[in-house]
Every structure is written in structure tokens, then in C-alpha cells.
Amino acid sequence: MTNSSSNRSNGGSSVWQARWALFRKSAAANWALFAENPVGLIGLGIILFFLLLVILHPILLNTVWDPNVYNPINGFDPQSPVNPAPPSARHLLGTAPQGQDILSQLMFSARNEFILAVLAATVTVTMTTTLGAIAAYYGGVIDNVIMRIVDLVIMVPALSILIVVSGLFELSIVQLALVIGLISAFGASTVVIKSQALSIKVKPYIEAARVAGGGDFHIIFRHLLPNLMPIALLYMMFSVTGAIFSEAVLAFLGLLEVDMSWGIMLNTTRNLGFILDFSNRWYLIFPAGLSITLLSSAFYLVGRALDEIVNPRLRQR
């Protein structure tokens, strides 16, 4: 411990370097597995496409598009006084009943969907893993309390809770994300993660950690959670799908206080009586509906591809 200390005593940076190298190696290996799977790549492609829309929208508004005409919320084009109007060179996806450009609405809404999805999924995943790990680790009364709440939430359909909550309070997109995250945190994924945590809890390395002097906190955060992370990530993807879908339904029912979203686009269409006239007004229904379907299935597809990395048994041999 003495002679070699001079070349290594730089605050343990060699340890962090080695960890970084390991992380990169495993990330590369996981990417190689992921890239073998066309399903996952398609999903990722769709997600990237919508991300591109999110990034392009403010750029377009600042350069090519006239903000007065193309504003997604209150834009109006004097050159096309009759609205809604079918797609044209000026409005690639047509205009909405109140005169806004549909493509601009679509791109603007994508940002909200991503904020919602990522926030809701992060809340869900942090809470399910922590709740599952705590329930499994402590057992007894704590386990019972958590799991009975979960039973209750599973029993009552999430959507009806959401409808009541958004009826009582005017929810912004961030608040909605938190509520959705909280509700799905007490959902079926907690049961799955708890069962996984139970199987990890009895491994000898947990006993070994305790003999090493590790307390409950150390064991939960250093041993249980890292081993739950892969499966938690998987459920994160699936809960994104659920969050996007719930938002669309609530907005469609007019229960959401959001300036613009895909659900609101459909809501406006329905309120003004265009929703049944699909053959003539398809451009009012199709873009928003397809976007909801595409983005939520994209996250689902990525989840499936991750599933095959996490559970090697699902991999095709």
C-alpha cells in the first residue's frame, strides 16, 4: 500500500476511468443486441422521427413559417379563409376548423407528448422500483400496506380515477404526468417488480453484504435496485405507452387544460361535428390519430426489444 501510491493517488480517478470503460463496453454490447432486432429499430426510428419534429418546430417558426399564420394555437391564414381546408402546398396537412395549420399543431403537440411521457414514466419507474424493493425487503406490515393499495388501484380502472381527478382540478401537462405516474406506480408493474425483488432478496450476496456491514439502505440501493433496473426500464417503456394513451383520451373528452395536444386536436374535430365525416375530413382525424398510435406503439416496440435483451430466453436462437 505504500510504494505504488504515488502513481495512483489522483483521487481514485483510475477507478472511475475503469468504470467508465466498463460502462461503455456494456453499452456497446447492449446496443449490438438491440440493433439485431428490427422491431426495436423500427420503434426507435419512429421515436427519433417525432423527436425531430419537436426540434424542427421552433426552427421552422423562426425561419420559414410566418408566426401569425403558423402559430399552432391561434394562427390564421388570410389566404385560406375557408376552414377546415384540405392539404395544399401552403398547408401540407391542411388547416384545422379554426384555421390553424395542422402540421404545425402536430409538431407542437409532439413536444407535450414527450414531456408527458418521459415525466410520467420516470415517476412510475422510480416509484415502482422503490416501492417493490421496499415491500419485498421489509415484508410484513409495510409489504401488506403497499400491496393492498396496489390491489385497490388495479381494481379501479386508472382512467376513471383520471377522469375524476381532472374533473376536480384543472391539470396542466406536468401535473397530469405526475398523476399518471403516481397511479401507474401503484399498478401491476409494482407486483412484478416486487416478485423480482423477492427472488433477489434471498440470494447469498445479500447476506454477504450484510456481513460486510451494509445496512438496509445500502442493500436496497446497492444490491436490490441495480438488479431490478433492467426490468424496471422495460416497464418504463410500457408505461410511456399508457401515459400517451391516457392523455389522448382525457384531452379527447375535454378534461384537460392543455393549450394543444393530439387529443385536443381530435376533441376540436369532434366538438365541431367533423369526426363522423371521415371521407371528407380525414385530414382532421388522420394525422393526430396516427401520431398517437405510432408514438405509443413505438415505445411499446422498443420495450419489446429491451425485453429480449433483459430476458435472454426470449431471444431467437
Partner: protein, 332 residues
């Protein structure tokens, strides 16, 4: 201090309730460990042998405080005084964890697959806040080389699944010894290894014990391993120590009928030698609410009426440093 034992175990018991629930007190118990008394001296290694299910692992886990005893006490000498392991306060808890470690049976399952060898070996140091990260790195490297994983730098940042069983058990030994504990419980550390590398690991454990002045409690079902590793051996049967004494004396001149039966089951590597096989009947059961009679009564070849009507015999000195729990074994 040198003449006093490092570990004193007094009346250690572990009872597992069989039935009972939230509103009902359990009425019957499995007496997994039932009233053990023994001492382990500094630098000594005591072997704990017995069949599966006789309570040897439970005993080991109570000594490292993984299980709480139902009754009795484990005392560990720290400095000049003893701390009671089952009734421990904050300060002595720290002393306890720095002085007691365990090596587990299964080298595949006793390491977190998501941690590197550095993190696994360094975990006791990290958890107990010993040294900075670069000091820990050096210390881990030093111990990896000590257990024969050289060069340490090529093992430090690998995952356990990249190592062989023997290498993993060496990692487990390095991990147990890295905080230089006084006492290590080794729970069948070689039973899952290939015979070809078993001796190497045992030899390593002995060398390190001498070098770092470690005291072992060596749990095993293999008498040959116990003979190689241990100064004294305790034979357990259904939660009780039936015979305890110096290794050579116990193996060459067993007094308790159960020890005799165990020894006669060890094969002799010479087909011409015939040994008198000691026959015992039946199989090992569980000590669920045992009758007040000798635990070995049902299978004993030398039992009589006295054994049936009297409680389990106490451990008594029968000569030559041997303590035996049997009414029928005469005092020499």
C-alpha cells in the same frame, strides 16, 4: 488476553416456529440449534461437522449475526473485553463488523452479478468507510494478489461471471479478509469446487490465517477437509454437539457412536483394508419438539433404557481433551 478465547458461545439456541399465525402463538418448534456451548481460541480453527440439516450453517450464521439466536449468547473478544453479539450497541456493532466476516458456500451466488470484482472485494471497506477510493483500490489489489489472483489489475474490473469457480472463491476469501477480521466463519467454502482445486483453496486459507492471524469456524460435512483445516472438531447431530475435541484424537479414537458411524462412512483408498462398519438405523429427521431423551436415541446402536428415560446427555470430559455427550461412553 492470549489465554482467553476469542469467541465464547453459551447456551446458543435457535427455534423455528412450525405453526401459529397472527393471532395464535406457535405451539411447536423446530429446534434447529439447541443449547450449544463452545469456545474458540485465538488463531485456532474449529471444524463444525455433521449431516445436512443438523444446524451447522444456522450456528455459523448466528455467529455472524445473520440470524438472531432465540436464546443464549455469542461473545466476541474485542481488545480486552467481550462484546455480546446478540445485544449490541452502535459502537460495538462497528467493532463487531470489522472483526467478523464470512465466506459463503456458493461462489456463484454470493456475488452480485452487477458489481465488479473491485466493488465486491472493496464492499466491506466502502460500507465501513475505510480509506479513500484510491486507498481502497490499492488495498483490494494487495489482497487479490495475496489470494493468488495476479496481476490484480487484470481482475479488478471484471465481473464475477467472467471468472472460474476457483477464482471466484479466491475473490470471496479476499473479500472476507480485506478488513483483516479476527474471526471468519467459513461455510463449506470448498464443497462446490472441483476436487482438483479444492486443496489449493484450503492451503490458501491456512496460509492467510497464519499470516493475518485469523481464527476460523470451518463448517463442513467432509471429514477429510476438516482434518486438513482444523485444530479441533465439533460433531453436531440434530442441533446438539455430540462430541468435541482435538482433530487427531477425535478422528483416530472416536467415542460417540454417531462419530464412529460418520467415520466408518468415509471410504478408505485401499480395497484390501476392511473396517468394522458401524451400523446406524434410519435417517436424520428434524428436531421438532424433541422428546426429553437422547437426540440420537432412535438410531443409536448402544442405547438402553437409561438413555430413553433421561434427557439429552450433557457434554462431559471423557479423557484426552475429548468432550462427549453420551451416557454410555465411560470416563477414561
Amino acid at each position: 488476553m492470549s489465554n482467553q478465547p476469542l469467541i465464547k458461545v453459551e447456551g446458543l439456541r435457535k427455534l423455528y416456529p412450525i405453526d401459529g399465525g397472527v393471532f395464535r402463538k406457535p405451539s411447536s418448534f423446530n429446534h434447529a440449534v439447541d443449547g450449544l456451548n463452545f469456545e474458540i481460541g485465538h488463531g485456532e480453527s474449529l471444524g463444525l461437522v455433521g449431516e445436512s440439516g443438523c444446524g451447522k450453517s444456522t450456528t455459523g450464521k448466528m455467529l455472524v449475526k445473520l440470524f438472531e439466536p432465540s436464546d443464549g449468547s455469542v461473545k466476541l473478544q474485542v481488545g480486552d473485553s467481550y462484546i455480546n453479539v446478540s445485544n449490541i450497541d452502535r459502537n460495538s456493532r462497528k467493532d463487531f463488523r470489522r472483526n467478523v466476516q464470512m465466506i459463503f458456500q456458493d461462489p456463484y451466488e454470493s456475488m452480485n452479478p452487477r458489481m465488479t470484482i473491485f466493488d465486491i472485494v472493496g464492499e466491506p471497506l466502502a460500507v465501513q468507510d475505510i480509506g479513500t477510493i484510491s486507498e481502497r483500490e490499492e488495498r483490494v489489489a494487495e489482497f487479490l494478489e495475496m489470494v493468488g489472483l495476479t496481476p490484480a489489475s487484470s481482475f479488478m474490473f471484471r465481473y464475477p461471471h467472467e471468472l472460474s469457480g476457483g477464482q471466484r472463491q479466491r475473490v470471496a476469501i479476499a473479500r472476507a479478509l480485506v478488513i483483516e477480521p479476527a474471526f471468519v466463519v467459513a461455510d463449506e467454502p470448498t464443497s462446490m469446487l472441483d476436487v482438483s482445486i479444492r486443496t489449493g483453496v484450503m492451503k490458501l486459507m491456512q496460509d492467510l490465517a497464519e499470516r493475518l492471524n485469523v481464527t476460523y469456524l470451518y463448517i463442513t460435512h467432509d471429514l477429510a477437509v476438516a482434518r486438513y483445516m482444523c485444530d479441533r472438531i465439533a460433531v453436531m447431530y440434530l442441533g446438539k454437539i455430540v462430541e468435541i475435541g482435538p482433530t487427531e484424537e477425535l478422528l483416530s479414537n472416536p467415542r460417540h457412536p454417531y462419530t464412529k458411524a460418520l467415520l466408518s462412512a468415509v471410504p478408505i483408498p485401499d480395497p484390501r483394508i476392511k473396517r468394522d462398519a458401524v451400523q446406524i438405523e434410519g435417517g436424520i429427521s428434524k428436531a421438532i419438539d424433541p422428546q426429553p431423551q437422547c437426540r440420537f436415541y432412535a438410531r443409536c446402536p448402544i442405547r438402553d433404557e437409561h438413555c430413553k428415560t433421561h434427557d439429552h446427555p450433557p457434554l462431559e470430559v471423557k479423557g484426552n481433551g475429548m468432550q462427549v455427550a453420551c451416557y454410555k461412553v465411560p470416563v477414561e
